[in-house]
Subunit: 148 residues, 2 copies
Amino acid sequence: MPTGEDARPARLMAKPSWLISEVSRVAYPLLSDRLATAGSRGYHYRLLAALAEFGPASQASLGRHAAMDRSDVAAAVSDLVGRGLAARAPDPADRRRNVISITPAGTAHLRRLDELVAGVQDELLTPLSAAERQQLTSLLSRIVQHHG
Amino acid sequence: MPTGEDARPARLMAKPSWLISEVSRVAYPLLSDRLATAGSRGYHYRLLAALAEFGPASQASLGRHAAMDRSDVAAAVSDLVGRGLAARAPDPADRRRNVISITPAGTAHLRRLDELVAGVQDELLTPLSAAERQQLTSLLSRIVQHHG
DNA sequence: CAGATCTCAGCTATACTGAAATGC
DNA sequence: CGCATTTCAGTATAGCTGAGATCT
């Protein structure tokens, strides 16, 4: 094995879509492992965040806020309810719906997850200055908004 | 449903790791669908790129260059060989290894995939100027290099 | 012996699809 | 009727793990 095998094809290194997927691949286990220390996954954090910021909502509405599929919302909400972090109740005004709400324990849990997630940002963006992190966030936000 | 349900929790929108995964989620079907028009997937492009730029290599070496798992390399190489885009031959110097090489048809196919992938970059980065695209690429590259 | 390579079976999480039952 | 909601079963992919056989 003569030369460095960690080298990547130049074709890939020059493609933003490749870099994005590589950073995403780096970020995923960082986030996933941290959340796991609190017995949670990304879906749980996203749902709790949506519940905390937008208030009680149906599962369908929740899925739109948290950018999750209806199918995955159902399963993840059941997890949260099972752990006492959220409550599921029938909607008296529309009996097709469940109204999901965050519990006090859920709010406390979200705060804990917030700290874990903040730590991941620092770890992921270590090589960037504060100004560069802001720049990156801004550029990515515009891409996300455009494809919204 | 009073207010916009496309709104995302502020907690998420402020997290680079979330934005990265969102952009990655947008980019994936763009890339995947385009490559599918040529009967290929991301793994195929990455392998062909590594073969074209680093020359014939063992599957293990190929996996390191293309950032792929040994297991996935085996399956994807079999795909390429089956389509005549790569060749698999035993290494006379080390009989544990297969030497994988790109064929002329593989080189031609790679050129075609290159055009498709280039189109995806434009589509993904539509809202950004040329300078901003360069900036984004640079920031992402530094993150990737740091976590290499 | 340790260590590398290849193959295969299987696993997890994300993301998604289809269908059915229920209700507006 | 059309449409929305929930639930369940199932699919696909990327990425990864473990085990075993082979070879250096």
